[in-house]
Symmetry: D3
Subunit: 284 residues, 6 copies
Amino acid sequence: MGAGFSVEERLREFLKDDIGWGDITSEALIDDGQMAKGRLYFREDGVAAGLDEVATIFRILGCEVNAIMRDGSSVSRDQTLMEINGPAKALLAGERTALNILGRMAGIATTVSKIAAQVSKVNQSTKVAATRKTLPGFGELDKKAVVLGGGDTHRFRLDDCVLIKDNHLALLPSITEAVRAARSAVSFTKKIEVEIESLEGAVEAAEAGADIIMFDNMPPGEIRGCLARLSELGLKEGRVYEASGGITPENVGEYAASGMDVISMGSLTHSVRALDVKLEIEMV
Amino acid sequence: MGAGFSVEERLREFLKDDIGWGDITSEALIDDGQMAKGRLYFREDGVAAGLDEVATIFRILGCEVNAIMRDGSSVSRDQTLMEINGPAKALLAGERTALNILGRMAGIATTVSKIAAQVSKVNQSTKVAATRKTLPGFGELDKKAVVLGGGDTHRFRLDDCVLIKDNHLALLPSITEAVRAARSAVSFTKKIEVEIESLEGAVEAAEAGADIIMFDNMPPGEIRGCLARLSELGLKEGRVYEASGGITPENVGEYAASGMDVISMGSLTHSVRALDVKLEIEMV
Amino acid sequence: MGAGFSVEERLREFLKDDIGWGDITSEALIDDGQMAKGRLYFREDGVAAGLDEVATIFRILGCEVNAIMRDGSSVSRDQTLMEINGPAKALLAGERTALNILGRMAGIATTVSKIAAQVSKVNQSTKVAATRKTLPGFGELDKKAVVLGGGDTHRFRLDDCVLIKDNHLALLPSITEAVRAARSAVSFTKKIEVEIESLEGAVEAAEAGADIIMFDNMPPGEIRGCLARLSELGLKEGRVYEASGGITPENVGEYAASGMDVISMGSLTHSVRALDVKLEIEMV
Amino acid sequence: MGAGFSVEERLREFLKDDIGWGDITSEALIDDGQMAKGRLYFREDGVAAGLDEVATIFRILGCEVNAIMRDGSSVSRDQTLMEINGPAKALLAGERTALNILGRMAGIATTVSKIAAQVSKVNQSTKVAATRKTLPGFGELDKKAVVLGGGDTHRFRLDDCVLIKDNHLALLPSITEAVRAARSAVSFTKKIEVEIESLEGAVEAAEAGADIIMFDNMPPGEIRGCLARLSELGLKEGRVYEASGGITPENVGEYAASGMDVISMGSLTHSVRALDVKLEIEMV
Amino acid sequence: MGAGFSVEERLREFLKDDIGWGDITSEALIDDGQMAKGRLYFREDGVAAGLDEVATIFRILGCEVNAIMRDGSSVSRDQTLMEINGPAKALLAGERTALNILGRMAGIATTVSKIAAQVSKVNQSTKVAATRKTLPGFGELDKKAVVLGGGDTHRFRLDDCVLIKDNHLALLPSITEAVRAARSAVSFTKKIEVEIESLEGAVEAAEAGADIIMFDNMPPGEIRGCLARLSELGLKEGRVYEASGGITPENVGEYAASGMDVISMGSLTHSVRALDVKLEIEMV
Amino acid sequence: MGAGFSVEERLREFLKDDIGWGDITSEALIDDGQMAKGRLYFREDGVAAGLDEVATIFRILGCEVNAIMRDGSSVSRDQTLMEINGPAKALLAGERTALNILGRMAGIATTVSKIAAQVSKVNQSTKVAATRKTLPGFGELDKKAVVLGGGDTHRFRLDDCVLIKDNHLALLPSITEAVRAARSAVSFTKKIEVEIESLEGAVEAAEAGADIIMFDNMPPGEIRGCLARLSELGLKEGRVYEASGGITPENVGEYAASGMDVISMGSLTHSVRALDVKLEIEMV
């Protein structure tokens, strides 16, 4: 994700949004020739995410970047992540945008990593996934942070996987018919997921050939029952099972124990606590 | 803020980012002629923010919007905020982007509103302000949400107010010299703020004619002492005083009590809990 | 596909590319108030595709559009597809861009439709698919035309389905390992396709759990043998089989007869014969 | 044509359109450090066109490009056109977009070159020209390919040459009046072309001072008669004569023999057969 | 020129540049519901140009526009040009951008009109033309203003007419060779202009078949001599003659008298005095 | 101002606007390998402004730039400002756009510098300021030129300083109320300016706590009286005083003598005489 050249354009937009017609403070106070070096670190333990973007930002502004840690690494408080050398004006102009991106992405990656570790203790084959509840304009970076934290991106957009919800089902005679219609209209390269709320729904979706079945807002016990029944009916194999809705760090273990392949949580990206990040700048 | 026509373009980008080459699920399952109506509400009490943007999104998609509550209103759980009528496909295509914006903006406004209320109980003239720790690409909407929650935006960008920090001061002989240099280089239409960490700094900044003095990471007691001393020296009047750094919902009251004009908190925008928002869609 | 508001922006770019600083001929010769009406039709039988885009173009230019036929319909030579009323200048300014789009899209849809009909006679369950050999900047419209002609879009982009080719396999110990690595790294919402060139490859890919197996440049007879062997091994079910490479209108029937689920042809979009389209303009 | 920096932006758009949020296959299977080299060649004889664009694409993606053949050269099957060295991921990410551009542009150049050769055998001073029937969004590259094949671009846009057609003439009392009105309204830097369908039209256009006279859908014999008559009347000199409409590779020689300066064919760009192009990638 | 939909996008950019994140003054002081009406007029006599653009700006901002005068009209001081009704905030937000455009365009049109009148008195068939010395980003509107003032746009861009200057001639054996090379390389739809500095140059350019001959920085007397000599040689007919360089309102009459077809002046667009324009706003 | 990376994008747009699909003259006449060098100078004395932009333009086009003078320097006629080496085609393609920018920016800087010198002779502490009467799309560069000439930018946009005008006052009971309302609604980081037309207005604005008071269209004598009265009332200190409206190079000295802090003139940017600039190109 995040092929350099394509994200770079967005990063330029972010910088322009923050800089406007110039960093009037630095322009007033700092000589063009004044050089500085920056040391980037976290003020708490966490998982690195956003370092590539920070490096690109400072390169856009004419700095040299020495990457020490890689995105996806677990990093301790105070550990140096990157050194940046360049004009003092450039470091100051990029500082806030860079830290805003890094703080959010590392915040996401750190949380995902913690929850994935919890889940993994209970069930090694269960994945933690994000949803489409990402921040508009920042979705690609939110999803990248999820991956760096060890999570699954889930759908990128409305165009890369079918997800049949109750709103769709309300318009069709049955889950069977909905899956059939989707299969016929959609490219063979796309999976079909159905959101169900009962055992009956799960059985029907499985029989209809859904690739993924999502248990929406169902308690772990009930989910476990569904899986058992699907297994008895010989319908369980060849499908992915996802739980979603109402899942918190507190109950995620129970969901993992219920045998889910995937547990998805909107809060991973819609309610992010930024990691505490710092760029220490020293004039040289 | 947010003159319709200018934010509209950004909202279109947001929609394209999420929809990609089409909502393949709805296209497979729903007729073009199928109409639907949506009811927008919060699943918890909060302050409305983002309703204008939600309305614009659905209008872009060809729906009719009936706005019931206005941005900035305090809203109860389950209260209808807006009704949307249009093609079912349009409601489903815009739902997630709209809710993602609304959830974040209302989350910000609700938090700001709560903290502003706390502060107001202690000191009616103290403002709660955001910082530049907004989300890249979403800064204008983050700041708008702060205003709707009753807060102060602080700087929009690096170009609309001078803020002299320790990094700048490290390059100049004194605060006095820094303020003088800024005053000379920067337009008379801009204010000059100085970040200080001691009483001496505060006195020097005031004498130098700073418009705003920011106490950075100073405990409320120390700040109170600074203000008292500035008052004794006849330097307090005609300036704005801001506290920043390490301020939390727990200690914000103490800062308000210390006599600050402005208390700024990065967490208002860098670590947002999205409000729980819902669009109930019914086919018609 | 082609949510109006998102394609509209691209259509505006197309118009600007062709109009430049103005249609100097019409500006010199035609009064602003001069009205005209246009009748759109094909000069040969074909399948309509691009009518939505033509309508949008003339609406952008301030005309009223009366759509008579719908995209996807089979249309006879000379049959009226659309009537357009508006300023003569607007009709003339949009004519060429509109016809260029319509000619290409209808050309694609018509060819796809013919090949799909051929295939269908032999094997009703076989789909004809395009590839990523679309025209840069025109990919979304090329794919839409394929769908309107009754074909399958195949992948939209490199991000919506895994396709493991020989270049990838050259770097990994085995197909098994490649599929395993993809399954682990890629979201559960994406399918995994493997391109194989031999029976052994097909068996290994099936055993490894590939969702789609593509027979690359294999003669129909050999493919038939592969499928038979997979069936014997109990590996055939639950997978999609695609043939690609060297398929022409002449031999496509044989491929269909070989039992393929999908037959994909690059020529459907890389070597398009435009349909002969005409906008008859009459001054009023 | 195609000043690097301006086309580069469009090429970036093309890449983003195809790559989306990432080449998920390569990202799953290939190490960042894995290097590769590519050899670009045609699988049939042809005229090179698009090599500059291919080079730019791979440079955008961080590869080194060694250009061996130049655009405009006649190239044999299997001859190496370019060598590309860089990260395997970059070669794979750019491959399809690069080949799609190259295939189309070389397809156009090759066809133009063949027809120009045919024409040249009959009449050395006759040019083969394209029309405005180019692909929307791809017009500049289509025209560049025409030039590389030895053809004439004709108009770039509606703003660079006046072309008076029957639709315009329907609104004016006479060709004479139309040419006069155009001459008066349009800059002296623009030529004026008139499309005529009869000898009378040709004579009137010539007398009115048209710079270019286009014989629309007239058989070669009739055109020859027109030219002879214009010559007798002393009106032939100082003007360019173009034939257009219904011209095919089969009859183009007759048109050349009729004494035309320019023969224009829409099919050169509206119905392109892509050249068969290949990028052979080897891991290193 | 200036097809509405294409200039509109640029006008939106202009507005965003000026409004930024909002008109903070009006937002603080004026109710959303407050309506206003505006009367647009000149504070000096002049030629209207830019009214279409002003109308578009206010329509973008949600106002109703009643156009009273048309672009290109001669207008007296204080005469009402347009009435605008809408939200007070919208009128105030658009006022400056609208007036900046109108002031410049009307300034250009008025000056062009005056000079054209001077020229016309001396020589009815002489045109006054602008050059490519337009303001970057504003070229299309500058040229439109020239036309509205009765002038000729000259080249739009480097791509719509060949202009061979001394820098080009320095690289080629002769004018003859340069014209021949241009004729061969450039589309038959483009004119070829040669800039000459002596009688010899003029004769050679005419013999070589240049479509336009530009006398660069030559005094009117010398030009007159050149034309006479060309006439004697039978080379004068069928060509356009342009004078350029060092032409001022004071000496333009002499140039007209010298028999020029076109007199071009860079100052028409590079040194514009804005017309004094006013939008009188009244609250309603 | 003018952070390189952000202005660069605009410069690319400017170039594309002028070059279109190619500089057809140079492409026809000049070899790709032909190198040239350029010498940039003024043909009259002036203040350099726009050199950074010129350098960026030629770097975009692939030239090497040797900057000899810096923006903001006073420069004599014929003095070399910059040397440019690169492909002849690149120098010719960028020449006009570069000179158009340089001519305008240096024209502004030179005029500002002259007026600032006049003002400075009378009153060393008075600043000369521009207004928002900049050219749409060129505002940032216009303002940068003002700074390089020694002037003050005044507001960048409607969002960075409050300016209360008569139109706003018409809607509010009093200046006092308007200032109070602005103070309450607008961020503490913004200044508040009030435009007044009488002594009473000035006194009320000062008492209300306006940061800046603008005397609109008042003669210097009256302004002097206002300041004296404000001084008597103890209201003069701590505020900035600006004169605006009807100020010309002829009377600007009187305004300076009246004790103004700032004198603003719209003509500095709305009616610019371009400096006479030249790029001398020599083939090498």
